[in-house]
Symmetry: C2
């Protein structure tokens, strides 16, 4: 099971790395989570340079692709070669997007008729692409999920774990990362956010 976290130049560290941290709490044979980048290295919106763990070609074959956000997403969304090279297919993959990542799904035509979540800055651009934005942290229909607000990446990751492993694995990952002294309520709230979409 390969989960590719699409991480582009100018990426938001929270969106890609929170998803990576939670998804890696699943300890099952063959479970693989990778920062998937267009180049061998990418640099974040705050100057953090990290090495790719997988190529875009590998994303096309992944079981799930989570599209992170960043400050250059509008440039990527305007790049036809980049978009056609992605080969995302919700018929055979789980596809998730976080904040401005939703703009890429919109431009790929994956959100036609599907409401979506995004951040407050990206919202007008996604609406301009013809997608209806809902004011909530997570929305999913079938194999497509979107999340809005950096910390909603916790919900997107938990939804992905629940879909690809099971709800107990999602609850265990949430419990591990939750603040000490708040774990019970934290897990309960996050599960309440994702359960309508399972």
């Amino acid at each position: 099971m390969h989960i590719a976290i699409l991480t582009l130049d100018g990426f938001n560290e929270l969106d890609s790395l929170i998803a990576l941290g939670l998804l890696n709490r699943v300890k099952r044979p063959g479970w693989r989570v990778s920062l998937t980048c267009p180049t061998p290295q990418v640099t974040s919106m705050n100057g953090v340079t990290l090495q790719a763990q997988a190529t875009l070609a590998e994303a096309a074959d992944a079981d799930a692709v989570l599209v992170g956000s960043g400050i250059k997403t509008r440039d990527y969304a305007a790049d036809a070669d980049f978009l056609t090279g992605l080969h995302l297919d919700p018929a055979r993959q789980l596809i998730g997007a976080q904040c401005s990542g939703t703009l890429l799904l919109a431009r790929l035509g994956l959100l036609d008729g599907v409401p979506a979540c995004t951040d407050l800055i990206t919202k007008p651009w996604v609406e301009e692409a013809g997608v209806r934005i809902v004011e909530q942290p997570l929305y999913a229909r079938g194999n497509l999920a979107t999340a809005g607000g950096c910390m909603a990446s916790v919900y997107l990751a938990a939804w992905t774990i629940a879909r690809l492993a099971d709800l107990d694995a999602a609850a265990a990952a949430l419990h591990y990362v939750a603040p000490v002294g708040e774990k019970g309520g934290y897990v309960e709230h996050a599960l309440a956010v994702i359960e309508p979409y399972l």
Copy 2:
């Protein structure tokens, strides 16, 4: 104002990068946040390799040092040369630690008589070092703060912003990262966690 996020080999991505993301929401002249590492590159507990943004020598001169956690902290805590090279000083710096980072502060003798927070796995090791652990997400006394549970890194970062900038800047950073549809309650809760320690 330089905030050094101590990020060691085997680091937990959530602890270092959540702090970095929030702290970089502060847009003030001279405000600098850096992943501060013992080597030019470090690799996380899940195989993410990133480039250092500052050296350990720079941490000694930073206005604040946040010690992240990781799977090799016990090795670092047993390395006398590493510990003596840190030169952390709560008399002139804010010092924070996240999860197993608390073990390093304990070994440095900075928590003598000061209760602390950490994660469930690190707890017995910190207690063995003579520190009393409190079951809550954040505790601070004076310039020393500790946090337990990966997502409590949000609180540690917000406390740091409130101390080095102001409470409004902390609230603004929390509001930005909060999930869409949950921003009001999210900010209110996080501020309630940090305000007793300001």
